[in-house]
Symmetry: C2
Subunit: 225 residues, 2 copies
């Protein structure tokens, strides 16, 4: 079945979380890259652990907690203002270079576009607002089901919200574990292999592998032709 | 309430997963430390992701998958025999130095001892057999409930198996996320802060913080006195 709706992951897929390193570097010179990496790892880890523990907390708070934990691990000492302000770095992330034109192409090819993010609606809206993609993109947040990906309930929520059949949706993420979760739920998935890496060993495979969003536009047009 | 039963995590708590690095180093000289770290991270990540995805696979298989994925990430190329053999490194791990005498002290102080591990019964039995602690230790495996820590069901299973009240059990782990999960479930927990680090930012705190098992023996005796 040809997909009618493309549901995108946001962080790392449409926008480059690498931008967090630059903000960290300004605050902790010489530690930006490492801090941003440990912070992002903690952020994801906390989404998984809290979902498993049945102790949901929204992504804004998790991002703050993960920053504190990352700084603890690296023996860095952010003051209270920084703990409050630095997490907004995730709302200031820039799109990957090809994303604006590729999204416009997908919209003109007739696809409906949506974002299904672990981030809160506020975070996702802020990111999309400043990216100013110029095409309509629906926003769905894991916050509405108080679970994080890859719990099946998050993907089920996305499909339900777009009022589509599972087969009409293509989920797109650069995060292999996210693609694995969506595949396990039953969605067709495109993995954006931005880092030219290997897929996770989780007994599922992506439906489509593309290097970036331009590559996916090309791939979908070929399938259509 | 005074605990009657001590339930221990195994990997990283009673036995030192650092031993995996030595075996990796023999096979991939110059990469042992890094490979073992990436491998262990993947191993844990896969337990969490698979539990969230509802795609349980036992810890022996997960350990194999995680090795393949870690080697992929590091561009190392294990042959098939190695992929089969190296995971048994987790069954050859040695206890931390203080553990044998500390367990003997706890047994002589009247505590019943058990292990509640993500590992299969076969893996946990192999580890305990070669450690030869000389005190009776019950073995409970997450494999029996097909969920991994920190899912509450794993801790509930442990408590049920020892036929005790929640308040009669003290759970002991050096893995902060594991302590957090057991605390969220409702168990009293001792965190063995072996690395002198900070606890995870998950809105729960350990009941007891001890540096190692000797320190915990001392702490429990003080509380009794």
């Amino acid at each position: 079945m040809k997909p009618k709706i493309l549901l995108f992951d946001l962080f790392g897929t449409l926008v480059d979380v690498g931008g967090v390193a630059d903000e960290c570097e300004r605050v902790f010179p010489g530690h930006g890259e490492q801090l941003s990496r440990v912070w992002r790892d903690k952020q994801l880890k906390y989404t998984w652990l809290r979902t498993l523990m049945g102790r949901y907390e929204n992504f804004e708070r998790i991002t703050q907690h993960a920053l504190v934990a990352a700084c603890n691990d690296l023996r860095l000492h952010p003051d209270d203002a920084l703990k409050e302000d630095l997490p907004a770095a995730f709302e200031r992330l820039k799109p990957f270079p090809e994303v604006p034109t590729a999204l416009a192409s997908l919209a003109s090819d007739g696809f409906h576009l949506g974002v299904l993010s672990n981030g809160t609606r506020q975070q996702a809206s802020a990111v999309l607002a400043q990216s100013a993609f110029g095409v309509p993109i629906l926003i769905f947040s894991a916050d509405d089901v108080r679970l994080y990906k890859p719990a099946p309930g998050v993907y089920a929520f996305g499909v339900q919200q777009v009022q589509a059949e599972v087969g009409e949706v293509l989920f797109v993420s650069a995060n292999a574990w996210d693609v694995a979760g969506a595949r396990a739920f039953g969605l067709s998935c495109a993995w954006l292999d931005r880092a030219r890496g290997s897929f996770e060993e989780l007994d599922v495979t992506p439906t489509i592998v593309a290097h970036d969003l331009d590559d996916l536009v090309h791939e979908l047009r070929q399938r259509e032709a």
